[in-house]
Amino acid sequence: MTTFLQQVFNGLTLGSIYGLVALGLTLVYGILHIPNFAHGALYMVGAFMSYFFMVDMGVHYWVAMAGSAVVIAVLGIICERLVFHPLRNSPPIHDKIAAIGILLFLEAVVHMFWGSDFRRMSTPFGGVVNLDGVFLREQGILIIASTVVLVVALNLFLRKTMVGATIIAMAQNREGAFLVGIDANRVAMMTFAISGILAAVAATLYAPMNLVYPAMGHLVIMKAFVIIILGGMGSIPGAIVGGMIIGFAEAFGGYYISDAYKDVIAFALLVVILSIRPQGLFAKGAH
Amino acid sequence: MLKVEHLTKMFGGLAAVNDVSVDFGANQINAIIGPNGAGKSTFFNLISGMHQPTSGRILLDGTDVTRMRCDHVAKLGVGRTFQTTNLFETATVLDNLIVGYRLRTQSGLWDVLINSKRLQREEKAAREKAREALDFVGLTHAENRYIADCTQEERKRVAFALALATDPKIVLLDEPAAGVNPEETEGLAELMKKMVKNGLTVCLIEHKMDMIMGIADKIMVLDHGEKIAEGTPEEVKNNPVVIEAYLGSDHDAAA
């Protein structure tokens, strides 16, 4: 029973991180119909920025996280302006290739500054809470709590504010939104900024439990893609639910099936599900 | 020629096409009109096999094509154009048209590897068919032009030619005259008449009423997925239900 509960906690932790990353990915997809392959690179740069702020500038964990979020938000906006905006009317294959270009570039830049070493990031929440034999890492608790806060905040933002309402309007109907005078450019930039913030926060939350290195985004982004396909591309609740599915599948699969193959589980799941339901689990229809 | 019986298509809980029955005669120009969102394009998608209907039947010259896949329907002689036709922009007009005849050919990869007689014969036939279609739409002079260098009206004609190269019996034209000027519209109308004169049956969706009233033999009016009227242009024009639908939808649009 304790091991089971332990895996539940691990699954929640993992699922929260995946959910946050997938959330950013799904927002951008929902509004701009771009599968942003560079999202994992934003996540990775987010971790390095926090690392940089903490180690080289000596600021506190929370300050580093905030700084990283700002930097990645700006980076997201730059990508939108410089790359995706000019490509909005191009054949669909082009924005995917461009996103891959951004990904390669960001990785190379980080590699140039920090090398390919694995780095450890410290956290003020390094302790472990022993709950009747179930070990809850403080960082894990922080991750779950932060995710709940972020998701609630994002929901409030999307539902209660004018800007949020325009984002939702545009996600539902791009041309329609354009007709009623929504500034599509602003919404696009805003979406990329939010997506960047979520990536940076997720990276900073997860980095102390993992390691910081240039290729750290690869697995995460691919799992995020699996998640948003499962949850329906563009769906916000889908990203959270999908994140949890993958998080739990990995935690339990890693423990009960095989730790070496736990990374394969997510992809195998995707292959199986898409083989049976090409439109995903919750999506109304594939485009 | 084309007989549709109680055709219904549900998307989620909404009926995009609701219990539509109609009979389009051979060798005629049949028009489908209606306000935006009336289900006109869906209707075409159902006939051409792109969507599967929820219920109802579609008969082409007596053959039941209701559940057939799109490519089979095309082989039976249903050609079609779209509101926007994506073509290979940096290839010539002729190169874009040759593939139109592909459905009447058999050659596969093996023929390519050994450059078989059959492949040579079929490629010659496809090329001839493309030229013939090009000639029909009056674009022979532009055969070597890149699509990217063609005007909007020329693109429309190329799209027609591509549909014609499939050797169809009936062509479904989705807003063929959208985005071209009045003179060009007239030219395209002439082209449709020419198609009928050459033994084809034409079905078109169009918003340009002047053109429809001038060329259509029969008009079907759709509104909210339902057929609200059908008849000659004269009959439809004076049908109070149609007038109401159009005025009503104008009110909606204004609101």
Binding site: K96, G101, A108, F225, S275 | F88, R102, S107
Partner: protein, 345 residues
């Protein structure tokens, strides 16, 4: 001037000149290493030709392409080193296996459209990579496979030496280019392009989408398998990193630089970039700082690549100079006069 030069390049004879150059290249090269680099470039070019069939002609961005390359390489590697086969039977097995796997993966993945297909294949590629890395009983995991047999020679020809190997690779490259050009010009190739133009349009032209896409996919994976098999026979060592998705990204770049969907684009792009990378050795690790933005700039400003831009430019120039068939000119006169008539009316 430029146009005449271009016309010379377009001349049917120039491809024989190109072939002659490739044949004498080992004599012109200043050392054996250069021949080796060229042979590696040719191997990648073969794989990129495959990529061009599914992505360039048929419009489906297959991000598992590098994975099939790795499967081809590992098939030869494991069959020759662990199972003790000779190279050529293993080579044939690699082609068959990549074709069959292409058929299976294609049958599932090609039902998905655009983004879904790209993401799905990205995952397939990653599964392949993870399997190579984790399935130690079969693949030796991170250690990789050593002692791979070189292609068996005949008579005095020994494919352990660089020169004969170079000609062997060149032979396959020429065959692949020849076969691809056949496909491109044929109705089969036109069917691929029709699908790239749009699924719906292609279907309405009576094209069986699934069947056609699968054919293109199997061709592309078999090319990748062929390249991988040659790679294993040449490098004689493979590791999981050969299945890294970065190789697929590299191939995208080769294809895009050369000209997506063109016949000589994969060759021009691959050989060009490989040599540029070689001459900028100091950049090796950081080359993506240049090539990443280059990809972005290419898709935004020069989506046609070197060959595509060249062909388009030549075509327009020829049209402007009125160099088309005679019939064209007379017809266009008729057209202008009839246009004038209608304008006057």
């Amino acid at each position: 001037m430029m146009f005449k030069l271009g016309a010379l390049l377009m001349h049917p004879a120039s491809k024989y000149v190109l072939l002659a150059l490739a044949l004498v290249f080992p004599a012109l090269a200043s050392n054996e290493y250069q021949v080796y680099v060229m042979a590696t470039a040719f191997i990648w070019a073969i794989a990129v030709y495959g990529f061009n069939v599914i992505t360039g002609f048929c419009g489906q961005l297959n991000l598992a392409h590098g994975g099939f390359f790795a499967i081809g390489a590992y098939t030869v590697a494991l069959l020759t080193s662990d199972a003790g086969w000779n190279f050529w039977p293993a080579f044939v097995a690699a082609l068959l296996l990549t074709a069959v796997l292409g058929l299976l993966v294609g049958a599932v993945s090609l039902r998905l459209k655009e983004h879904y297909f790209a993401i799905f294949t990205l995952c397939v590629g990653f599964i392949i990579y993870l399997l190579l890395d984790k399935w130690e009983e079969l693949t030796h995991g991170a250690l990789g496979v050593r002692n791979i047999a070189a292609p068996d020679g005949f008579g005095l020809v020994n494919f352990r030496e660089t020169m004969p190997l170079y000609y062997l690779v060149l032979f396959f490259l020429v065959f692949i280019i020849w076969f691809t050009s056949r496909i491109q010009k044929s109705l089969v190739g036109r069917t691929f392009v029709a699908i790239r133009n749009g699924d719906e349009l292609a279907e309405s032209l009576g094209i069986n989408l699934m069947k056609t896409k699968i054919v293109a996919f199997v061709i592309s994976t078999t090319y990748a398998g062929l390249a991988g098999a040659l790679y294993a026979g040449m490098i004689r060592f493979v590791g999981p990193e050969d299945g890294n998705v970065l190789h697929t990204f590299n191939m995208i770049m080769y294809m895009l630089v050369g000209g997506i969907g063109t016949l000589f684009g994969p060759l021009v792009g691959t050989v060009g970039i490989v040599w540029i990378t070689q001459s900028l050795q100091f950049l090796e690790e950081y080359r993506m700082i240049i090539f990443g933005p280059l990809l972005v700039v290419l898709v935004i400003f020069f989506p046609l690549g070197v060959c595509g831009s060249f062909l388009t430019w030549m075509h327009r120039k020829a049209q402007a100079l009125g160099l088309g068939p005679k019939k064209v000119q007379t017809e266009s006169k008729v057209k202008t006069s009839s246009q004038e008539a209608s304008n006057n009316a």
